[in-house]
Amino acid sequence: MRQRIYLVLLAIILVVRPILSSVEPRIISLSPASTEILFSLGLQKYIVGVSYLDNFPPEVKKISRVGDAYSINLEKIFQVRAQIIFSPPTNVLRQQENFLKKQGIEIVIIDPKNLGDILHSLSLISKTVSLRQKPSARKETEARRQELLRSISARIKKIEQQRQRIKKHPKIFVLLSDQPYFTCGKNSFLNEAVELAGGENIFSDVDQAYFSVSPEEIIKRKPEIILVLVPNYPRKSSRLTGQKLVIDNINPDIFVRPTLRIFSGIESLQKIIIDYEKE
């Protein structure tokens, strides 16, 4: 008689526990980009680990840090019982990939190369997480996703309309760093962002994502606007001459990260361009 009770209890435990634990997805986000997307989908309560770089939104501070593109803390990942890891493409993760997969952890690489990819990553993250949610929560997430896509599409449309009004696209130099000067080329989403806003990246002809250039090359292409994306850039040290406008009051994070905030960045940039055009 007693044995039967134990068997039933065991059966209950074996069956119920997996069900219980799979109800709540446990997510690790190894890049600020995916973290921001998770927050905008309302999925932040499932995040159990973030990267050292994460700083937005402020709530992120409460979540424990488990690594980033250069290193991951395996012990912490197990401690938080992660199920899904969203990460940029890195060699570090690649090495551990097989091991982590064997432990049953799902690894999703997020690597947006253009604006379309950013929207795609929104859907990818949403779908990956919602698969592990309860049906009701899943519906909520899907609704959020649709809504976000709708609003962003609307914003993109508006941006494109505004762009039509801009007659002359000002030449823009994107300053990612100086000493040496670092900028972006054709294969980066930054480039696309600038062009969508209505500017023209002076290095859009270069078939690379990010690279360094000499100051003379910059001057040769006669930029009219310099978009400074270096955090805490000291204003005086701009050594370039001839440019008419230096934009250094935009938070670099919203441009440099492939997240939804980039569209705010594009809107801000567009506004500045339109004002500039008026002069």
Binding site: Q179, F211, S214, E216, T241
Partner: protein
Amino acid sequence: MKKNSRIFFVLIILLLFFSFLEIYTGPIKNPEWNIILTLRLPRIVLALIIGTNLAISGTALQSVFANPLIDPYISSASAGAAWGIILSRWFGFTDLPGAVVFSLLSLFFSYQISRKNFRTTPTRLVLAGVTLNTFLNALIVIFFLTYHRDFYQLLFFLFGNLNETDWQLIGLSFLLSIGGFFWLYRLSKHLDIISLGEDKSATLGISPENLKLQIFVVVGLLTAISVSLSGIIGFVGLITPHLLRMQMGSTNRQIIPAAALGGSILLLVSDWLARNVAAPQELPLGVVTALLGVPYFLYLLRKQQ
């Protein structure tokens, strides 16, 4: 020394040629005077200062340690200077003093590591320098990864470039470097003699410890100046004296001025290649000098065995 006069002549011609090349070629065709003054001329002055500093430092180190396999880069003076700059910026000080202090410390350290029974064999010195170098470079990367995460600044140190345009800084560096040059030049005979060994040198009236101290100070200073202007650039200090010794003999009174010219030329050539080979991209200067220098370094190592 008729042959050496000819070599000096050739070196000067080459320097002038590459200087003109640097002035008249570049992305902007028919540049106005302003561009040449603010962008191209500083590169030449920088190449002169840094090429000279690194090459004559290499020459002096190679004599005082009687070891042809040493230069500011290998001896970890450059890495030390980089560290000094990082720490100075972290605490809000100007670059140069910190760079000098740490450059000197690194030199001193790798020298001490290589001593055993008061003798330093060439191999031990290279090993000590390489070890300390690796350690310092690792520290630099860790620093950026943990505190700074501003990956692009790291590139300045590890890659090197001649983009500096602050004429005040360049001017100060120029003056200090001239002082360093004449100090080393004055020590030419001492450097010749000490390459025969510390015992012989002492009994000829030249204190090895005193000479080493002077050389450390000057090399530390010149290396610190170079690194704060352009980041870490390797191999110039190694291969310039060697190439010249093969042609000119080994007396430092000839090699030191020749190395000044040779190092400048090497740096001008490397800079020209760095900017034009993959235009509009600018390749890292330290990478170009390494590509030019590593095969030669390996060849030298084989010759040594």
